[in-house]
Amino acid sequence: MAERLANGLKEKRSELGLTQAELAERVGVTRKTINTVENGVFTPSALLAIKLAAALSVPVERLFWIER
């Protein structure tokens, strides 16, 4: 069965009251990248995943997980 990298980026970002643009600025990407990661359209690199987790102050494994 296919595996995919799911994430709780949108929930965590909303919890902290951040917009996509604000989070994008914190990690040095465009809003479009945050948008595609949140929608599951784009799987981020390990580098970006760690940056996102750091920006939202959560361990990376709580922000991203493998869905089967």
Binding site: A21, V29, T30, K32, T33, N35, T36, V41, F42, S45
Partner: protein, 149 residues
């Protein structure tokens, strides 16, 4: 007007780029109609201009695909314009362009068995198909990424 931040500039330019790429692809493809409708006159000075125009536009589009554009912007804006998703979209564009070029080559090879196709026309068709496919793929993915908010 308030000065825009680097992120805002990159966002605006990125959206503009996805729209411009569609227009450029349309111009590029419509240029081919003129080329093939008058390709018997290509030895004339007007013909040379047509070939030169196609070649120049092809090179500009290839450079745009290879670099992501934003050539006259600051390093910071260019870095944002060329972030992870953009690089992935360009990579998908190149992959589709490669397969389109292969299919065009196979088609021309088959057609040439019945109707000779000149070397110049062959290069023209393959390059046009490859660039247009890569460009349209890149533009479509960029548009989609901006839209689904």
């Amino acid at each position: 007007m308030a000065e825009q931040s680097i992120a805002q500039q990159a966002e605006r330019l990125s959206q503009k780029r996805s729209r411009i790429l569609f227009v450029l692809a349309a111009v590029f493809l419509s240029q081919q109609a003129t080329y093939f409708s008058s390709r018997h006159d290509l030895a004339s000075p007007v013909g040379h201009v047509k070939i030169a125009a196609w070649l120049v536009l092809s090179i500009v589009l290839l450079l745009m695909l290879a670099t992501g554009g934003g050539w006259f912007r600051s390093t910071e804006v260019r870095a944002l314009l060329n972030d992870e998703t953009t690089r992935e979209h360009r990579r998908e564009g190149f992959v589709n362009g490669f397969w389109a070029a292969c299919l065009a080559s196979i088609t021309i090879y088959a057609v040439d068995l019945f109707e000779p196709v000149s070397g110049r026309d062959t290069v023209h068709i393959i390059l046009t198909v490859a660039i247009a496919t890569a460009l349209l793929t890149f533009a479509r993915l960029e548009r989609r990424a901006h839209r689904d908010g």
